[in-house]
């Protein structure tokens, strides 16, 4: 009986949450509309052209999916560090390092005569290692150096970008002029196979889905995930409860780096087929936004990341069709996150008034 009411209460809370979040979404849309009207642009057409841009044709849908896969990966990575109470801002650099490692291995092996699929696999593995290494650097700085992961991460992002530029204009310079266009593209057999006639590689999607499943179960059903949560919510108590805290923090960085590195590897093998200056495509930061929106729920990241990817891809049509600035999609994303957080704050306030009595559990502790 007790269990049933608890379950129904939980279900009720979920629905309350969902309705609050939808309210935030509607509000964000409304505000964006007001902004569009204020500058004299037709909002309906703007939204339509974003939709058409993202889903108008098979090619458009695939393009959206191309952006979706790495975004899912970074979101999953960030969710792990979130759970441990860490703000892994350094994820951008971790994606970048993944890309660099992948490029490195592909360059090293492309003349080796090994079968191309093996080179690709090795390249992706190297990317994972690269991301994990870079992340563990931030983790070591945090756990042993006492450097806040936000600052450490920012610093490491900086180094990663500088390293990319140096490689592109230095040692890995293409013949002729070193170019912002990146290193020389890899031969087509070293590309992760794409759906014929399109740019989308189903492998990238498959890997991302695996990541979602893994993270979902990791955070939900494993001792490791529960301990991460405990460390994230109260490190001292977690320690007293027997959780080796710094080890878990480091491990969360490492795992996040694995997913970030994989995202970077896919950027190289599936999307750009070379190393370019901003190879991370801001997926790390966008992943942080998605993670903030979904608040630890790995499965929710799937639609939210898709929505963000669609906004990014669809907004391309704004300047072409409407001569509208495409930063509209960014505005919408930013507003969305802001409003969801605000609404969440409001919800907590309202709910705390209702549920948590001012005197903790008044009356609950009657004589026993």
């Amino acid at each position: 009986m007790a269990k049933n009411t608890a379950a129904s209460r939980r279900r009720k809370t979920i629905w309350i949450n969902v309705s609050f979040q939808s309210a935030a979404f509607v509000l964000a849309l409304l505000l964006t509309t007001v902004m569009l009207l204020a500058v004299g642009a037709p909002p309906f057409q703007a939204y339509r052209s974003i939709l058409v841009g993202a889903f108008g044709s098979v090619g458009d849908i695939f393009d959206t999916l191309i952006a979706w896969a790495p975004l899912l990966l970074t979101t999953m990575g960030v969710l792990i560090t979130f759970s441990a109470g860490l703000w892994n801002i350094g994820i951008e650099g971790q994606v970048t390092l993944g890309a660099i490692f992948t490029t490195w291995i592909l360059r090293l092996l492309q003349e080796s005569g090994l079968p191309p699929w093996l080179i690709i696999v090795l390249g992706i593995l190297a990317g994972i290692v690269g991301g994990a290494l870079w992340a563990s650097l931030a983790g070591v700085l945090k756990t042993f150096g006492g450097v806040n992961e936000i600052f450490g991460g920012l610093g490491l992002n900086f180094v990663a970008t500088a390293l990319t530029l140096w490689l592109i204009f230095g040692p890995w310079k293409r013949p002729g002029t070193g170019s912002m266009s990146g290193t020389l593209p890899f031969p087509e057999e070293l590309w992760l196979p794409a759906i014929p006639g399109f740019r989308l590689s189903p492998w990238a999607l498959v890997l991302s889905f695996i990541a979602v499943v893994v993270v979902y179960f990791l955070l939900r059903g494993t001792h490791f995930g529960l301990r991460l949560k405990a460390v994230g919510k109260n490190m001292r108590a977690a320690y007293l409860l027997g959780v080796p805290t710094w080890q878990h923090m480091l491990a969360s960085f490492l795992l996040c780096g694995v997913f970030a590195g994989l995202a970077g590897a896919l950027q190289v093998t599936a999307v750009y087929h070379r190393l370019i200056p901003s190879i991370s495509s801001n997926y790390g930061f966008t992943g942080l936004l998605v993670a903030m929106l979904v608040n630890f729920h790995a499965l929710w990241a799937v639609p939210v990341a898709l929505f963000f990817a669609a906004l990014n891809i669809g907004s391309v049509h704004l300047p072409i069709v409407l001569k509208l600035d495409s930063s509209l999609s960014g505005v919408l994303q930013g507003l969305l996150v802001l409003l969801v957080l605000m609404v969440e704050g409001a919800r907590q306030r309202l709910m705390s008034r209702k549920i948590i009595p001012a005197e903790p559990a008044s009356g609950e502790e009657v004589q026993s």
Partner: protein
């Protein structure tokens, strides 16, 4: 100021926190408000001070009805409340905290404020340094700051919520003197407590709340039995001292030293036998906290040796000592002991540490249910720990302990709990002693120390007494030692190494 509460009702969901409460307190009175945890005292006071809005009822000040929607309204009306946890800003100076709440002009008149602060403090005999940082103050000093601040803001009704929790005996005396002075100045003092002795010693009159109802009133001379009956609806006695049968020496400390930036504890020698209970007495911050944490492996020692059952644990982390049967229960339950945001099942799964990669949630829930029943915790496996009351949190902490332990270290195990919970918790602890677990506990409650300890260590400013037989002590002697009186000039050497 004359305060009248008329027919106050407040419910939280299904819980009726206040039911039709009527209370009239004339100016110049110290009104005691007594009741066990959860009786509705704090709710009533929060209604009066604007933190909570009553569902029904009226508040009259000097006979005029007032509407109070926020703490700011309350202070404007002359009502100020001191919370159990002072609502100050630790990283700031005393003077900054002092002027903080005063709105009005952009630039606080700091010089004038400083004068006022000093004058007010002197009036009550408080030694408050305006330039000290608040986080360097003791709980008692923070209370003092809060009192003068509220007076400065014009409070004529002062509400004290459990003010004697966590302060030293000397500070308590000073506090009581201050409260009497306030009453003499015709201020109204509402004194909320569940401690009979405090109420008996201080209040001009007492009301008792139970389960949301105001169940009785009393005037001096009070009889303890009558108050207890009103609080609990039945008479309760603490019971006789029960010494445990003790066994072989389990914990042995040799020349243990530990220090932090402001305090050094040097050369402690102690041998604790299995099943023995050692009480650590002393004013807060006298070194007992450092000592406990050093023994737990949470603080690095600066010298000496810790061994448990012949195993050297010196310099080993808490995770290692935990494996060898040591457990530490911190005083701040939600800050250090439990993980807010996780439910009870998750806590039991965490603490139990079974093998395997995936969690057996069914097993976890079953375990949680079993322990919840065993420890009489008011909650379900899905209850989040922060939603539990203090007493239930403490029970949960005990329930989380592993089945067999060699050494249990507790900080203020019953702080903030009512008598019943206290008795329950100690019965559980004594059960452990019977199973051969040694217990070291810190408490500021001298009665508790003498009641439950076999031997006592007294801490004063980093100095540590040799273990004293609790049966041969009394509160007066203990109080003197805690206050730094009666310590020999030389190091205390009597029977330092009791049996080894």
């Amino acid at each position: 100021m004359d305060v009248e509460l008329r027919d106050i009702h407040k419910t939280f969901g299904k819980v009726r926190a206040n039911v039709g409460i009527r209370l009239h307190v004339p100016a110049g009175t110290i009104q005691g408000i007594l009741g066990e945890n959860g009786a509705g005292k704090s709710t009533l006071m929060k209604v009066l001070s604007g933190f909570i809005h009553a569902d029904q009822g009226a508040i009259l000040l000097d006979g005029r009805p007032v509407v109070i929607h926020s703490p700011a309204d309350a202070i404007r009306a002359g009502i100020g409340m001191l919370h159990q946890d002072p609502l100050d800003f630790p990283p700031m100076r005393v003077i900054d905290n002092f002027v903080m709440a005063r709105g009005g002009s952009l630039f606080p008149g700091r010089a004038a404020a400083r004068r006022d602060l000093k004058k007010l403090a002197a009036q009550f005999g408080f030694a408050l340094d305006p330039d000290a940082y608040v986080d360097s103050l003791t709980v008692g000093e923070r209370q003092q700051l809060e009192i003068v601040r509220l007076l400065w803001l014009g409070a004529r009704v002062l509400i004290f919520d459990e003010p004697t929790t966590g302060i030293s005996a000397a500070q308590k005396e000073r506090l009581f003197a201050a409260l009497r002075l306030l009453a003499d100045q015709d201020k109204t003092v509402l004194f909320v407590s569940h401690k009979l002795e405090d109420v008996e010693g201080l209040c001009d009159r007492v009301v008792v709340l139970r389960q949301g109802y105001l169940v009785g009133e009393a005037r001096p001379p009070y009889t303890t039995r009558q108050l207890v009956e009103m609080m609990f609806g039945k008479a309760i006695s603490i019971g006789k001292r029960v010494p445990c049968a003790v066994g072989e020496t389990s914990l042995r400390l040799r020349n243990l030293s530990v220090e932090d930036y402001r305090l050094k504890v040097r050369g402690v020698n102690l041998a604790v036998r299995a099943g023995e209970v050692i009480g650590l007495a002393g004013m807060e911050g006298s070194g007992q906290g450092l000592f406990m944490r050093a023994v737990a492996g949470l603080l690095r020692t600066t010298g000496g040796r810790i061994s448990l059952d012949g195993r050297n644990l010196t310099g080993r982390s808490h995770l290692v000592s935990k494996r060898h049967g040591v457990a530490f229960l911190p005083a701040s339950r939600l800050e250090e002991g439990l993980v807010p945001g996780l439910d009870l099942t998750e806590h039991f799964v965490l603490a139990e540490k079974k093998g395997g990669f995936f969690i057996d949630w069914e097993g976890g829930r079953a375990l949680a249910e079993e322990r919840i029943a065993e420890f009489n915790i008011r909650g379900t496996p899905a209850s989040h720990v922060e939603a539990l009351s203090g007493g239930n949190q403490q029970r949960a902490l005990l329930a989380l302990l592993r089945v067999s332990l060699r050494l249990l270290l507790l900080e203020h195990p019953t702080r903030g709990l009512d008598i019943e919970s206290t008795i329950y918790i100690w019965s559980k602890l004594k059960e452990r002693c019977g199973q051969g677990t040694s217990i070291l506990f810190v408490s500021s409650d001298l009665e508790e120390i003498l009641q439950y300890s076999d031997r006592v260590l007294v801490f004063f400013n980093g100095r540590v007494s040799p273990p004293l037989e609790a049966a041969e002590m009394n509160t007066d002697r203990l109080g003197e030692l805690i206050g730094g009186k009666g310590w020999p000039e030389e190091e205390w050497v009597e029977e330092m190494t009791a049996d080894g």
